[in-house]
Assembly symmetry: none
Homo-oligomer: 224 residues x 2
DNA sequence: GTCACCTTTGACGATTTCTTGACGGCCCCC
DNA sequence: GGGGGCCGTCAAGAAATCGTCAAAGGTGAC
């Protein structure tokens, strides 16, 4: 089932959206502010996000940036502000669509269909091979030799950032920011700790990694 | 270059769109009715279609259906009609976005960016050739003769400054400032040390460099 | 309250990288 | 021809980083 995360601080609108989306066969989660939204997104891994820009705790573009750091799920922005500058800022921050309130629920549903249509069948083979293990980012599943391997939430976030940049070097500061938040800059011991755990769970020979590589002094790299 | 097909029967609007899109680096083709649009699309295979629904010869949804039969390129619909039923019909026919006239050109461009962003990022990062080696600055990767070459962080920084100024002479003081910091002015031995390492790793004949050149008394230069 | 799981933290050799010093060759100027 | 400055090269000590182990908080389930 397609999972949708609805982020809105007005309970009426959030409720109306949830009911309408659920009635059309979507699995719906809700969040009332930006911090909740980022936590909920990391937990349920939605296929689409409906985001109200007028959140009480943080700017809408920050939420978009926080989501875009690790997911490519379409983001459909709702906003009461119709100014073009607002729309441009949100779209360039990474949003996929922008609808001004008040909106027609039928039109919104059509835009949701359009957004999910292109990301649904377009995402070919979401499984990645690492050594003898297969990683399914969408389903949050790892298998190795027929057995299922369990990863903790932090391990998932770290692995996801690396896998979404195949072949590319990801700097340690960038990894810390994306996984632990903007206030973490020098806690490289976290990276060492969790990279070791990932290698132990995924690599054939954890002492001699082939896919999860260290670039000394710079960062880490996933080689397909 | 990203190819955009503009379909509109009003010459003024078509012309305005063409000029604006071309000014932002797109390659633009135009068509004035539905039949022309389908022919032009088959000929130039656009990466995105901007489609006015009010065409003289056929209904807009037919054009959408005709395109969707063979291409997944994003379709951005323009229309003077703001009724929700129209929007829903167009979106469900296969359109990706729907903008009502009159529209803000900046917003339209932002929506074009959003649409091309999600379908485009298959392009790999630009590589620079040095002798027999290929340098990928974005991925932080160097290959030479099929083998991978490892650079240390300082080597990367130095090489990046030179490669970002192709053909230009970079003074030794500027190099020292950019790589080691503002407090380093006369440690030219650092430059000698690391330039030698870079040449050994990148140049065909490190003793007779062709791309990483010394300008005695002044600085260094990268010649493509 | 207890238990299990996850995260955070500290510490230690092993390895890589950076820094530093020294030497000879080349070119230009005197 | 001699001298000084600059460059390329080599080598070795100093410093930083990495992988690993172990254990102390935190949190939610039962």
């Amino acid at each position: 089932m397609i999972k949708v995360l609805v982020v809105d601080d007005e309970p009426q609108i959030a409720r109306a959206l949830r009911i309408n989306l659920a009635a059309h066969g979507y699995e719906v989660g809700t969040a009332a502010d930006g911090a909740q939204a980022l936590r909920a997104a990391a937990a349920i891994v939605p296929d689409l996000v409906v985001l109200d820009l007028g959140l009480p705790d943080m700017d809408g573009t920050e939420v978009i940036a926080g989501l875009r750091g690790w997911t490519k799920a379409p983001i459909l922005v709702l906003s009461g502000r119709a100014a073009s500058a607002e729309k441009i800022a949100a779209l360039d921050a990474g949003a996929d669509d922008y609808v001004t309130k008040p909106f027609d629920i039928g039109e919104l549903l059509a835009r949701v269909r359009a957004a999910t249509r292109r990301s649904g069948p377009g995402a070919d083979s979401p499984v990645t091979e690492i050594g003898g293990a297969t990683v399914d980012l969408a389903a949050r599943e790892v298998h190795r030799g027929g057995e299922e391997v369990r990863l903790t939430p932090t391990e998932w976030q770290l692995l996801e950032v690396l896998l979404r940049n195949p072949g590319k070097l990801v700097g340690q500061r960038e990894l810390l920011h994306r996984v632990w938040g903007p206030n973490y800059d020098r806690e490289t011991n976290y990276l060492r700790q969790y990279m070791a755990q990932l290698r132990k769970k995924l690599e054939e020979d954890p002492a001699r990694p082939v896919h999860l590589l260290t670039e000394p002094g710079m960062g880490y790299r996933f080689r397909p």
